[in-house]
């Protein structure tokens, strides 16, 4: 991710990130998104997102 791409995302999301932290955020997101950018989603059409909650469980409040 380039700094320009990062600035575009910041503008779209309306999330204020100071100049001094742009490089830190760019590195963080670049590493996090690298596997997704490598992924060929068309080759994995039958792969569904992880199931996260047990439908059998009674819903309840968390903090």
């Amino acid at each position: 991710m380039t700094i320009e791409e990062l600035r575009a995302r910041i503008a779209m999301a309306g999330v204020p990130i100071p100049e001094a932290r742009l490089e830190m955020v760019r590195t963080l997101l670049t590493n996090a998104l690298a596997p997704i950018e490598r992924m060929d989603a068309r080759a994995l059409k039958t792969l569904e997102p992880a199931v996260t909650f047990d439908a059998a469980a009674t819903s309840g409040a968390r903090v």
Partner: protein
């Protein structure tokens, strides 16, 4: 037993002494409160110390022991990561955002340990909202590593790791979203287990990431972790992800040994950039497992390099949790943490969903591997604890994690000591197993622990 030895005894040892009337919970509590007073001025592991509550709990435990109650946690000194809600006791999550929050009920884990007769000593510092280390000047100072106070104790359950390593309590609660139980366990030379997702209730634990958060115990030995997990595990209707899977007796199989056990070592990813001293200690640990009768083989998790997608999930979910406070009162968040949390608002919905798809593939591949072996072994952390001077650089990178793959998959994973560097800093072994098979993971760790002496070393504090 000398007072110093007493502070580093195990849960089973002090329980036996309680029942032989050689020691009382009040005596042990008084001894530890004195030690905390002396030692924690330097370590900063406690945010809130509750001496009156500890003494009251200890007196109640004494009465229960006199009645013949047999719960192994009766009178055992514990403290809770300050992410766990405690009724009537400040619960800060290490943040100015919650600096004045006094919950009106206990989290499920706290209620279960208190119900088992544990003695509550107070609340232990956590990295802010279980994510960001407190920089100098923060309202809540960061805990120091008892092995070398110039180094971090790991995070985010930093106070839990430091307090246990320093002999201030016998058990603690941690939470683990990407390694926050196992990291401090690794860096403080103690044990900690992240149970299977759904095994231990997260109800009343401040959220970092709903689908990655795990609650679990930390202690000085694997056996002590088993005692604590026994009390914590089990279905809780207050946690939507809580499992109804039956809870086995973790202590019953702990001493069965590991002859014939198949240990898999995933070489790819987990050894990228590993410190040579860590690598050597890990290979020596494999040798010990072989001597104990296990077979060790390399295994392959084909898409393990997708594991860093973990961060896209965690950042997105954390941003969802914090968005309103981040937008309305950002000044209450700590340096650097604020921007890391805001970064979650820059991950698109599509990227989040793709990350959850990669997660599912990774989970499936890890389960495939665990059809050919019984446990996986890796270094818990590829490095020894970094110095504060390095971590306090705002651009210090979030380290590639050997622990996060097991948050992605939800598999149970245990950290325990397997060596020390030449500089005297801890090195740790990570053992992971099949879903809800904490018993095999604990049995393997206990066998290794009994064959080695790393867990008997003590810091000089």
């Amino acid at each position: 037993m000398k007072a110093a030895d007493l502070c580093f005894a195990t849960i089973r040892e002090v329980g036996e002494r309680f029942r032989r009337r050689e020691l009382s919970p009040v005596e042990l509590t008084t001894e530890l409160l004195g030690r905390i007073e002396r030692v924690d001025k330097t370590l900063h592991s406690f945010v809130t110390l509750t001496p009156e509550r500890a003494l009251a709990d200890a007196r109640a435990a004494e009465a229960a022991l006199r009645r013949g109650d047999t719960d192994p946690l009766l009178g055992i000194p514990v403290a809770y990561k300050d992410l766990y809600a405690t009724k009537g006791i400040l619960t800060t999550a290490g943040s100015a955002v919650l600096a004045d929050w006094v919950p009106d009920q206990d989290s499920t884990c706290v209620a279960r340990l208190q119900g088992a007769g544990a003695v509550m000593f107070g609340k232990l510092i956590t990295h802010e909202f279980a994510f960001g280390i407190q920089f100098p000047g923060h309202r809540f100072p960061a805990a120091c590593n008892p092995w070398n106070t110039d180094h971090i104790p790991g995070g985010s359950s930093s106070g839990s790791g430091a307090a246990l390593a320093a002999g201030l309590v016998f058990g603690a609660l941690g939470s683990d979203t990407g390694g926050s139980i196992r990291g401090p366990a690794a860096f403080c030379a103690i044990a900690g287990i992240k149970p299977t997702y759904g095994r231990v209730s997260r109800a009343g634990v401040v959220t970092l990431s709903w689908t990655l958060d795990h609650a679990g115990p930390m202690a000085r030995t694997v056996e002590d972790c088993a005692y604590l997990l026994q009390a914590l595990a089990g279905h809780d209707p207050a946690d939507p992800a809580s499992s109804r899977a039956p809870v086995p007796d973790y202590l019953a199989s702990l001493r069965d040994g590991i002859r014939g056990l198949r240990v898999g070592v995933p070489r790819a990813y987990f050894f990228d950039g590993v410190n040579p001293e860590v690598a050597a200690a890990f290979e020596a640990a494999l040798g010990t497992l072989r001597e104990l009768g296990a077979t060790v083989q390399d295994v392959e998790i084909p898409n393990i390099h997708d594991a860093p997608a973990f961060m896209a999930i965690m950042l997105s979910e954390a941003f969802s949790y914090h968005e309103k406070d981040l937008r309305e009162r950002p000044e209450l968040y700590g340096e650097v943490l604020r921007e890391k949390l805001m970064a979650g608002g820059l991950v698109t919905a599509s990227e989040y969903t793709q990350a959850q798809r990669l997660r599912e593939r990774l989970r499936s591949e890890m389960l495939d591997v665990l059809r050919t072996v019984d446990v996986l072994a890796t270094p818990t952390a590829p490095v020894t604890p970094p110095a504060f001077s390095a971590v306090f650089d705002p651009d210090f990178p979030f380290a590639r994690s050997n622990m996060a793959p097991f948050n992605m998959s939800g598999l149970p994973a245990l950290a325990l000591p397997c060596g020390f560097s030449r500089a005297g800093l801890p090195i740790s072994l990570q053992l992971a197993g099949r879903p809800f098979d904490e018993a095999t993971v604990l049995r393997t760790g206990h066998a290794y622990e009994q064959a080695t002496a790393w867990h008997t070393r003590r810091p000089s504090c």
